[in-house]
Symmetry: C2
Subunit: 346 residues, 2 copies
Amino acid sequence: MKIAVDAMGGDNAPHDVVEGAVMAVRDHGMSIVLVGEEDKIQSEISRVNGRLGEPERGKLQQLEIHHASQIIGMGESPATAYKRKQDSSIVQAARLVGEKKAEAMVSAGNTGACMTAAFLKMGALEGVQRPAIALAAPHAQGFTTIIDVGANVDCKPIHLLQFAIMGDVYTELVLGINRPRVGLLNVGEEEGKGNELTQKTHELLRQTNLNFIGNIEGRDILRGNADVIVCDGFVGNIILKFGEGMAEVLTDVVRDIFSKSGYLRQLGGWLSRPVFRKLKWLFSPSRVGGAPLLGVDGTCIIGHGISSAQAISSAIQEAEKMVSLKVNEKIQERLNSLDLARGNSE
Amino acid sequence: MKIAVDAMGGDNAPHDVVEGAVMAVRDHGMSIVLVGEEDKIQSEISRVNGRLGEPERGKLQQLEIHHASQIIGMGESPATAYKRKQDSSIVQAARLVGEKKAEAMVSAGNTGACMTAAFLKMGALEGVQRPAIALAAPHAQGFTTIIDVGANVDCKPIHLLQFAIMGDVYTELVLGINRPRVGLLNVGEEEGKGNELTQKTHELLRQTNLNFIGNIEGRDILRGNADVIVCDGFVGNIILKFGEGMAEVLTDVVRDIFSKSGYLRQLGGWLSRPVFRKLKWLFSPSRVGGAPLLGVDGTCIIGHGISSAQAISSAIQEAEKMVSLKVNEKIQERLNSLDLARGNSE
């Protein structure tokens, strides 16, 4: 299995991305093709190998380079960038998967461009109206899949129903949760609550054979009260960024309070450091690595822009897992059995 | 000025509500009419006075009771409850304001019933299409008004525009922030980002004389990057509850980690207690007291269900402040000047 990695995407690219890819090859035996500017990638590989010591002879062959001359920046408009930058690392990585020269792609670059490229180069699974981004969000007891966290800002009930099915398959196979509890993110627990979209989606979800537990509220998200949380990409994206922002602000505030405290309290802070470290780890995005774009005919993992080498390596492993566990085949099967593949349930 | 307080609304009613009302009368010289079951209220007043000592003679007269025989429960459907329970404490409190027998109402009861009663008994300000709930959310440097946090789950651009204007007036007058920075909650900073609703609202907001700073993202909410955050009530409510849930989960997790730690770390936790206390205070909802329902022809403050006596007392003071500062008159003036009062800008 070969995985295409966008070497130029992310805030610390190509430095951290190449390092993460090398780690995945050396420590986990992955086969990787790094996509991007060849000489830059080559020099990063040399740097990493120099630091870690030359790898065994056989392992060198598991790391290829596919040259791509362009880079799509984080702030660029996805549609325009896709059109103008066909030789960018993101578009070329997606093309490799579309042409079956690689089984999966991983990118920590421009999320919108990544979605556009994956959708246009790989196509959608039969009957999928809208691919969606699933995020395995950490909570105190484990992980909850939130789908969609940003691919689709305007949704219809049929889209949310498909998100639920895709999220269910991902959670069962990749996160290993049996019969995941599927909840619909809403403003109240009772049936009948919500806006037009969630009211109609609720009706659709009740008719499936999903383990649908009904509406869940904002406060349930981090309590682990559902294994799959279904929402449109507008709400999901705001929740995701609010959560990230809250974690950052709390860290800043704690640091600020301690720094202005007396000696005893500073000692307390010093003694408590492992607690804060554990807290940070618990809610750390890098435990996950990346978020899959589900519903495309291929595997595409989107990493966070600030991905570390460790996070890139995790994302690559997740891509490998999704392919081996045949997530797409299972999604297709489930959609077919619901007769949604023909799109006649709207 | 007389303020009607729903004595029966809230998880700890009438106990904490009556105590909060008595505090507001004794410490802040408010005139209050407690609405609810007379004998229960009377016995709570006696209990509180017994504990605090009998009040001065003059102050007794500032606390009246208006008997209401029914109670609307927290889980009841607002529309049905409103119809069937016209003699409930919530509906009677709203009626007192509608009939100008009181200037404002405060309730920590069923939010939906409170909104319904306020809207139907007081009516809307001229031209206001949808009253909205504004929440002064605490952040590290102060407060940000989020509007709407739950009154309207399906909105049009004109509604969000009106929320922005109402939130602006509230923030300027009540929170005392000059020329508040108004941000539109969205999935990206750039103009053109977002769903249909936010794209069209963005255009409308640009044409006003508000201090409109454009789109803001989920991560900006707690950073204090805007003084007024405009969103529909579906998104606002989920954000609000997610934030509350996150604060609860963090507290639980910290307690759990410390309790399983060794002596040194427990000592650290003990020494750090004031830090955690400050952290909790910083993000505590009771610093605010209640959230006003803006746009109705009267003043209505909705308290959190778990309101303490202190929170009720704060909510009463906030109601008094809104009336004295003529928030409604100013909102009406601003809507008129924008020619929105005739509702012809849709």
